[in-house]
Symmetry: C2
Subunit: 332 residues, 2 copies
């Protein structure tokens, strides 16, 4: 399976849903939300295929980890009232009691928007057999914030665009995308900076559009960006072979040898190595898959979780370098 | 043979000599200097063990190379009037027609001041059998510049002091050395900056001291600096193990992988690797010897000479990276 892993890190679809018989979570008491959590859990988790995680019962480190892995939103992790239902392979997470009663989310590696959409739809179908969602024929699904009204759908792709960045073409491209009604953000959503040339593109409009059009339009846009990124990669490599090889191989050297690495630096070098892998400069069958996973594994909460210890920042930097060296051993 | 190669790059001794029957070179015509060159060549080069290089016949690149390898002074290479006699292993060079009629110079790897002194003395002995040097019993050897009067001897050691530098202790130490009448300079003599933590220490006084005292005092000073540098290296490593290993291994990564390297950067990384080799962090039998040679091989003129081409600066950076990668292949 190769779903454009050289350019697309992940595809994500989420649906906002609210129950007809309850006020929005902002107006619900803690006990009411706890009741909602149980209701949803009972509806969907009949054969224990989901893990129920109540935010207030989780240590801060665990909540950070869920945010880092894009399994829950910073808002849900921060408010401590809600909960999340997460399936075993972490492709599906259902956020309960965030801004809306439910956020059904599906996250898959590479460009798999349609598959993510289907997964979300199947959960949505299961749930709406057990509970009545707030829906009006004129507006569609009702949501706490009007920006989600209608389909309640937000679809996004996480793109790795080193060549467009190096060529100074991201700004122009991303401005054009904005005009088409798609938002561009950094790795961790709104307000987060871009590290390692990673950009998230998502739909803005939810009202007056069909779910399948949101998905297929974003898919088309993603394919065009992939094409452009790949084409600039190869032309950059043709015209600046030495420069590109120097960047890629130096990053390889640093990742293979550094004894401490901060998160930003690690991401930058992994990004460069991904560029190299895309250009065929590194061997190893599953390099892109490995590097994509590594981009998550080098985040702080993942490192702390893996170590099982309360690590200081300096200790985290050391552990990060060890994780990277271990992961790359013999593979590139 | 290990002559403190971890700290001492080279030992050098040079003797300034002038012939009694000639004015100093500053007052000599080109033809007179040419005559002097032939006279010296005839005296010392009976069995063709020396290569005679007349500066005005050498392309600029060749003259640069000689300066880079410390075989001739920038002054001799620049004025184009004089010549140099250089033996096969490049341990001895006799500069003719620089500031003084003769500069007998011996350059050896590691701490070998006494051996360098003996070599110089043997050349001096051979020459003074064939020609009369300007000498006064009160003053000793007469020289063009009074700073060389007396013994005409300048002895120096090139020291690699990364730990003293990292610990911020070079300034204090070098100020103390100055008080003892020894000068401290960068890699290429007066006015040259220090790159890669390399410092040259040489005697200032030539008058009213014995040759053997100049040598043995400098040797004592060098031994004390070596002891101090080594002790700080191991204590630095004990207290900052991760920091030091990170510096050393990152440099290893850069040197093994970079596709272009400027001279300053190359020297810095080689310097770090030398520190690592001194701490036992790299394997390979002759690492220090190899790295010391590499410090010379990465200089511009050496690279151009090796390529046999007129390289631009960018091409030089590429060639330098290739040379370094090749040299380090399988050895560290």
């Amino acid at each position: 399976m190769n779903d454009m892993l050289d350019v697309v890190l992940t595809s994500r679809v989420r649906l906002a849903r609210n129950l007809q018989d309850l006020p929005f979570p902002g107006n619900m008491a803690q006990a009411e939300i706890a009741e909602l959590v149980q209701r949803v859990n009972k509806a969907i988790n009949t054969n224990n295929s989901f893990l129920l995680l109540c935010m207030q019962e989780l240590p801060e480190a665990e909540r950070h980890l869920l945010v880092e892995r894009h399994l829950v939103s910073p808002d849900l992790a921060g408010c401590a009232k809600g909960a999340a239902l997460i399936n075993k392979d972490e492709s599906i997470s259902i956020l309960i009691g965030e801004e809306d009663h439910l956020r059904i989310q599906c996250l898959l590696p590479g460009l798999q928007l349609e598959q993510a959409d289907s997964l979300c739809a199947s959960i949505d179908d299961m749930l709406c057999k057990k509970m009545q969602f707030a829906f009006e024929s004129e507006l569609g699904y009702l949501t706490a914030c009007p920006t989600n009204l209608g389909t309640g759908m937000r679809a996004s792709v996480m793109l790795h665009l080193p060549a467009l960045s190096l060529a100074g073409q991201t700004e122009g491209l991303l401005a054009a995308i904005s005009k088409l009604g798609y938002a561009v953000r950094g790795l961790y959503g709104e307000g987060s900076g871009t590290h390692g040339h990673i950009f998230q593109v998502s739909n803005q409009m939810t009202l007056g559009v069909l779910e399948e059009d949101i998905i297929s339009n974003l898919n088309t846009i993603a394919l065009r960006i992939i094409e452009r990124e790949r084409s600039i990669r190869s032309s950059l490599y043709k015209t600046n072979k030495l420069e590109i090889e120097d960047i890629v191989y130096r990053s390889k050297g640093v990742l293979q040898y550094a004894r401490k690495l901060n998160a930003k630096e690690a991401m930058q070098h992994i990004s460069n190595l991904k560029l190299g892998a895309g250009l065929g400069l590194t061997s190893g069958l599953d390099t892109q898959k490995l590097l994509n996973r590594l981009l998550t594994d080098v985040q702080c909460a993942s490192i702390r979780k893996r170590s099982g210890l309360e690590l200081s920042e300096a200790q985290c930097d050391e552990a990060r370098a060890n994780i990277v060296r271990e992961a790359l051993k013999g593979t590139i």
